[in-house]
């Protein structure tokens, strides 16, 4: 399998993930997007490991990232549940407490 195609796929996945983060009107989807970016990064790392087999850093880093991603997702969902309780919505565009008062 040509690692180059894996890298391309990772890029496309990062793009899709960023797009999800930036444009979806639901916090859940933003979290999904973040997951997608993380997984794309994992794919990238594995692809690079395939290119340079001597260096095992790629695969180990992927395992680390997977673990951290799970923690992060758990935190994210906890935050989301709190936000939903506080603001009664999970649409980021309706939470504008940080807006600069003109």
């Amino acid at each position: 399998m040509n690692p180059t195609y894996l890298i391309y796929t990772a890029i496309v996945l990062v793009a899709i993930g960023t797009a999800l983060v930036l444009t979806r009107k639901s916090l859940l989807f933003i979290l999904i997007g973040i997951e997608l970016i993380l997984n794309a990064v994992n794919l990238n790392l594995v692809a690079f490991n395939h290119l340079y087999p001597q260096n095992v850093n790629g695969q180990t880093t992927t395992l680390f990232i997977m673990a951290i991603a799970i923690c992060e997702t758990a935190c994210g969902i906890a935050i989301m549940i709190q936000v939903a309780r506080q603001y009664k919505t999970i649409t980021p565009s309706s939470i504008q407490d940080l807006k600069e008062q003109a």
Partner: protein, 627 residues
């Protein structure tokens, strides 16, 4: 200090002592003043007897760096002749005033004025320093001003005094500049030094001097103050405006005649002759008695001036002396008549001075009539009077003189004398022989000695014996006996001509009523008043108002424009300050606000926007690091 110096100074200062005495003895003012004059007369005669003409002493009055003004006296034959004339006439006028002014209030003002005048005149006659002469000259003018305006309630008096003083002031300033220029030329103010130097004056200075004496001696263009000055009391007119002050100009010219340039002498002759004729002509049409006499004085003064002009100052001196006596007598006589008639008039409204109203038959006031007659005969130049002899002298000098204008002068004397006879007879006829008016009661006060004594004394002085024992030889006792002969035909002619003329004119006027339509030009004294008013007074006032409006509009206006411009400029500056300087500051504020506004857009509150920008910047950063 020589005795003569003290004597002359005493003579000049005694009137001031009289004034002080008047302050103390208010009730007897008239008598104290007369007494002082009497003392002065005695001193004057004593001084003349000593006949010391060279008074060497002089007191330094003040000195500057380059000159010093001294008080010294220059007594020559002319002063010795004039001094007793002044003092006698002044004394007689004082005596007369005791009676004439008996019912006036503020007598001390009057007598102080007379005393002050006498002091100035005596000083003027004797003084030997040009500045002292000028001081005395101006004091004469001041005394004249105060006495013309003596009757302060009368508006004409105020105007007359103003006119007199202004016209005199014009001449006086020219005289002052002539004196200063004489100092610049001769390096001295001392009269004796100037005359001894025998240098003729420069033309300009001579002409200034001529113009300087014109007003005081009432010569042609500046003569109209004298008729108006008749609003003063009659004794004042007698003293000041007939006998003494008006001759001051002639006297000054006589004193300075050795150094006058020829053109000035010609000018004197011309102006004098012209004045003589014009004055006489104007006198023929007047209705006011005193105005007739005033114009007559002007006329005779013209003759005197012209005599100086043909280089016979002696002739002028002689005529001056004889004229002083009979003219003062005329004024006093007429004054006495007016006084008597005012007391006795039927109607208080009648103007006693108007000869159309007079109807006093000559029998009611004999003394007054006969003395006035004697004076008038002297004025006309009838034989056996002093006037005849002095006129003879004038005619002889005019005929004998080598001067180019003397024939001209001769003719003028004849003409003037003819007209003199005419107006004098007119005066006498209409004053004393007008039978038709019945305005007056009979008199009682005529015989008072205060009135009679001066009149009789002056009439005695109007006969031929004061000039020469021989009534037909016109030579004065005190003149040095030079070769002097009157042509026989002249003597015979004047002896016959004037009395015949007098007789004819008397009959002429006696046979008709006074004409009520006089020649207007002559009546108004050749409209000199009007002319001066239009030529000088009105333009001066116009220019004054013009200057004042220039002052307000332009000069002050300029200041106001400057002030306005300054305030306007300061408004502009403050405007610029607000908009530019402060504006810059405010624009900075605005700019940073707007900029901040733009930046603030990114604080939208949308988390995803924040994320976007964060990623965007991170990518840019990475690209920048990598490349």
């Amino acid at each position: 200090m020589s005795q003569s110096f003290i004597l002359v100074s005493l003579i000049c200062c005694l009137p001031f002592a009289g004034m002080l005495m008047n302050l103390w003895l208010r009730k007897y003012v008239a008598y104290t003043s007369t007494f002082f004059l009497f003392i002065i007369n005695i001193l004057v005669f004593y001084f003349i007897n000593q006949h010391e003409t060279q008074i060497e002493t002089s007191l330094i009055w003040f000195k500057l760096q380059s000159f010093s003004i001294e008080l010294n006296y220059y007594i020559n034959r002319d002063s010795i002749l004039l001094l007793p004339v002044v003092s006698i006439i002044s004394f007689l006028v004082h005596v007369f005033s005791i009676g004439y002014m008996a019912y006036e209030k503020s007598l001390s003002r009057y007598f102080n004025g007379l005393l002050f005048f006498t002091a100035s005149m005596l000083l003027f006659v004797c003084a030997g320093n040009l500045i002292v002469i000028f001081l005395a000259w101006e004091c004469l003018g001041l005394a004249s001003y105060l006495l013309i305006g003596f009757y302060r309630e009368k508006t004409e008096a105020g105007f007359a005094a103003l006119k007199a003083m202004l016209l005199n002031r014009f001449s006086d300033l020219l005289l002052l500049s002539a004196i200063i220029l004489m100092f610049a030329y001769y390096q001295s103010f001392n009269l004796k030094e100037i005359i001894d130097s025998q240098q003729t004056l420069p033309q300009l200075v001579g002409w200034m001097l001529l113009l300087g004496v014109l007003a005081k001696s009432a010569q042609f263009p500046l003569m109209n103050w004298l008729p108006s000055a008749m609003t003063g009391p009659s004794p004042v007119s007698a003293l000041i405006h007939a006998a003494t002050m008006v001759i001051a100009g002639v006297y000054l010219m006589i004193r300075l005649s050795p150094i006058l340039p020829l053109s000035v002498l010609h000018g004197l002759t011309t102006i004098g002759s012209l004045t003589a004729l014009l004055g006489a002509l104007a006198a023929t049409q007047q209705f006011d008695v005193k105005k007739i006499l005033a114009y007559s004085t002007i006329s005779q003064l013209g003759l005197m001036m012209a005599a100086v002009g043909i280089a016979s100052p002696q002739a002028a001196m002689l005529h001056m002396i004889s004229h002083a006596f009979f003219k003062a007598g005329l004024f006093l006589g007429v004054g006495a008549l007016i006084h008597h008639l005012e007391e006795n008039r039927v109607n208080k409204e009648i103007n006693v001075q108007d000869i159309r109203n007079l109807g006093a038959p000559y029998k009611s006031y004999p003394y007054t009539f006969y003395t006035i007659l004697i004076f008038s005969l002297a004025l006309c130049g009838i034989p056996f009077t002093s006037g005849f002899l002095s006129k003879e002298y004038l005619l002889t000098q005019a005929w004998n003189s080598k001067n180019s204008l003397s024939i001209f002068y001769f003719v003028f004397i004849i003409l003037t004398s003819t007209i003199t006879v005419i107006y004098t007879t007119r005066l006498i006829v209409y004053t004393f022989f007008n039978k038709s008016k019945e305005n007056f009661n009979s008199a009682s006060s005529e015989k008072k000695p205060v009135f009679l004594f001066p009149l009789i004394a002056l009439s005695i002085a109007s006969f031929w014996w004061i000039i020469n024992f021989n009534p037909f030889h016109a030579d004065f006792y005190f003149f040095s006996k030079t070769t002097f002969t009157t042509p026989v035909w002249l003597t015979i002619g004047s002896t016959l001509f004037f009395p015949v003329l007098f007789f004819l004119a008397f009959r002429y006027f006696n046979s008709r009523d006074i004409s009520n339509s006089p020649n207007q030009l002559l009546l108004q004294g050749f409209a000199l008043d009007n002319l001066q008013q239009k030529l000088f007074v009105q333009p001066t006032l116009f220019i004054g108002n013009l200057f004042l409006s220039i002052e307000k509009k332009w000069i002050d206006g300029f200041i106001h424009v400057m002030a306005f411009a300054t305030v306007l400029f300061s408004h502009i500056i403050s405007f610029l300050d607000y908009w530019l300087v402060d504006g810059l500051v405010r624009m900075t504020y605005k700019a940073s606000y707007t900029l901040g506004g733009w930046v603030r857009v990114s604080r939208s509150g949308y988390v995803q926007h924040y994320l976007f920008w964060f990623l965007f910047t991170a990518v840019l950063f990475i690209i920048w690091v990598l490349f």
